[in-house]
């Protein structure tokens, strides 16, 4: 199969409306297209509860991975006086993920408008955008956009002439995947080692500086202005209510002809469309056969080639045995050695494990050692059971989901490609030494 025509070709992107663009949309341009009207509407015409209700009924689910209802999360924040914070999760460090980067680099005001509406809804007067340290261009552009918005009275004191005020600070990380985990992010922001916190208490009750805090992904927040501007009912027409509404950016990478960010209405295309569609991946690189797709970076189980008809939305990917997560699709072709791929993914988690909890700190290292041995032909038949048993000793027993993530490359690759593991053991070497 080469490429095919993809459906939904009349879809108008909302989050990344300027595909291919290199320069950011500045304030004047953003305003000319109706930008910040949603913020105006929220602060002038809506109560906080109304904003929350609108977002709740839109069905918007978090785009950072766990897919939790955004409106519901906001509603957990206690009403009444006292500091509250919004922290935008722009740590985007999941391998294969580069959507938030493009939103921030090209559409900074869309994000800022969402930040302002969300802050208003939860009663925060200070919002942080926690951005991974490597994204210096995006961070600089956000800083510039914040300055522009402040000058124009859209942020800062007396926002839009109301008595609501909001300051937004861009906080730059320094190289640690764990900072994407929401409580580690809070620790990092507090100037401590970014080690996840034990929950409860949940951040909505006791988060940043022990104050009620909402943490949302960049893409989640970028949805908010559209919901407020055009209403929950309109929003629900994108995708399929109740579980899979709204636009979604898919990050496509790996062995395809045209990697990149593609925005769709949830559920409007299949995995096959994404890889082979003319508007999307345009088929496999050098025409090689597809071996498997990772749908959520390296953090969720891979999906084998026989499930390419799965719909791309929360339910569809779950039905295919995995999770939509950050919607970062990494495509593996037939040349890939699955053991080496698993090793590479486990190495990622070993490297990024914060080290706080035992199973993840010790288990990821051990998994990597065994995988490395197997990859180099020094494994034996008992190693497969050892790997699965170690995965079991980690999964469900760790403090944060990173440890759980670390087991899926092992469990899923053994499940779907056991023969390839056995081939390493029988041959006493990697059957595909030429790969990579």
């Amino acid at each position: 199969m080469t490429t095919h025509d993809s459906p939904a070709s009349d879809y108008q992107p909302l989050l990344l409306p300027h595909p291919g663009r290199k320069q950011p949309v500045e304030l004047a341009e953003y305003r000319a297209g109706g930008g910040y009207d949603a913020l105006l509407k929220a602060v002038k015409q809506m109560t906080r509860e109304q904003v929350i209700d609108e977002v709740k009924s839109s069905g918007l689910r978090g785009r950072g991975g766990a897919g939790f209802s955004a409106g519901k999360k906001w509603s957990f924040v206690p009403k009444g006086p006292g500091a509250k914070y919004l922290c935008v999760n722009a740590d985007e460090s999941e391998p294969g993920t580069f959507k938030d980067r493009e939103i921030m680099e090209i559409e900074p005001h869309l994000l800022l408008e969402g930040v302002a509406i969300t802050s208003y809804a939860i009663g925060a007067t200070l919002a942080f955008i926690y951005i991974r340290g490597e994204y210096t261009v995006a961070a600089d552009r956000l800083d510039a956009a914040i300055e522009e918005a402040k000058q124009a009275g859209l942020l800062g004191k007396h926002l839009f002439g109301t008595d609501y005020e909001l300051d937004v600070l861009v906080y730059r990380g320094a190289g640690a995947y764990i900072c994407g985990e929401e409580t580690a992010l809070l620790e990092s922001l507090e100037g401590k080692r970014p080690m996840p916190r034990s929950r409860p208490p949940f951040p909505a009750v006791s988060g940043l500086y022990a104050k009620p805090t909402v943490i949302n992904n960049v893409e989640t927040i970028a949805n908010v202005p559209h919901i407020i501007a055009r209403g929950a009912a309109w929003y629900q027409t994108l995708g399929s209510a109740p579980n899979n509404t709204g636009p979604k950016i898919l990050c496509l990478s790996g062995s395809v002809n045209r990697p990149g960010n593609y925005e769709i209405a949830l559920g409007s295309i299949s995995l096959r469309d994404l890889v082979y569609g003319e508007r999307f991946g345009q088929g496999m690189l050098r025409g090689r056969a597809l071996k498997a797709i990772l749908p959520a970076g390296v953090s969720a189980p891979l999906i084998p080639a026989d499930k390419l008809d799965a719909r791309i939305d929360y339910d569809g990917i779950q039905a295919a045995g995995s999770m939509l997560g950050s919607a970062s699709f990494i495509v593996l072709n037939e040349d890939v050695c699955i053991v080496k791929a698993a090793l590479r993914m486990v190495e990622f988690f070993r490297h990024e494990s914060c080290g706080k909890c035992t199973p993840c700190r010790e288990g990821t290292g051990w998994l990597a050692q065994v995988l490395d041995r197997v990859e180099h032909g020094k494994g034996d038949a008992a190693d497969l059971e050892l790997l699965l048993s170690l995965a079991d000793r980690i999964s469900g027993k760790v403090l944060c989901a990173l440890g759980d993530f670390a087991t899926s490359p092992v469990v899923a690759t053994i499940k779907h490609f056991r023969a390839e593991y056995l081939a390493h053991i029988e041959l006493g070497r990697c059957p595909k030494p030429e790969w990579c």
Binding site: A83, E92, S93, E94, P95, G96, T97, F98, R101, L126, R132, G133, E134, Y135, T136, V137, L169, Y171, R172, G173, A174, G175, A176, Y177, S188, L189, E190, G191, K192, R193, P194, Y209, C251, L252, S253, G254, S255, P259, G260, N261, L285, L294, V298, I330, V331, L332, N333, V336, A341, L343, R344, M345, E347, F348, H351, E352, C354, A368, D372, C436
Partner: protein, 182 residues
């Protein structure tokens, strides 16, 4: 060790957040911006400026990969070899850069770190995903992103690396001539 300007910036940073400790990470970055890396005395100086314990500062410094515990010399080349890049030939790119520097480009356990054979001016390391998977393979040279790399056409990249290393050496030699520390 830090200049008055940087010290002032750090003091200002200390006032920016609801709690002072939040200023630690940005301040360490400011210090690294000036010195090039974070020797322990500099870490201590940052902690003192913010009125925080030395341990608070070293805990942070050693956690994050972007905070440098060693002098990186003229430039550090970070080559991403996580899966999306690996699928598009990142390991060959890494080896080729290492080879160019006369360093051993062996990747062990998926992680490599090689220092140029001619000394400390350049180092090349394998790193995890930088969010450029759609422009893979990629590397970062100091703070510059180099994307869409082609293993058969790395001349511009290698020239840039050489240029940064040469600048660093020249600065060092100038400093020695002026009687200072290189």
């Amino acid at each position: 060790m830090l200049s008055p300007a940087t010290r002032q910036k750090i003091t200002d940073e200390g006032q920016r957040y609801p709690e002072k400790r939040s200023a630690l990470l940005p301040s360490l970055k400011l210090a690294q911006g000036e010195v090039g890396w974070l020797p322990r005395e500099v870490v201590a100086e940052v902690a003192d400026l913010l009125g925080l314990s030395h341990q608070a500062a070293i805990e942070i410094t050693t956690f994050y990969t972007m905070l440098r515990k060693q002098d990186p010399g003229g430039c550090v080349v970070d080559v991403c070899i996580q899966l999306p890049c690996a699928l598009r030939g990142a390991e060959s790119v890494y080896r080729k850069i290492a080879e160019h520097l006369g360093a051993d480009g062996r990747i062990e356990h998926g992680h490599g770190h090689a220092v140029a054979r001619d000394g400390s001016a350049t180092a090349v390391a394998t790193v995890e995903c930088f969010g450029s998977c759609h422009r893979a393979p990629m590397c970062r040279v100091n703070d510059e992103y180099w994307e869409h790399l082609d293993v058969n056409d790395l001349d511009k990249l290698l020239a840039r690396i050489d240029e940064l290393a040469a600048n660093y050496r020249a600065r060092g030699e100038a400093a020695v001539r002026e009687g200072g520390q290189p």
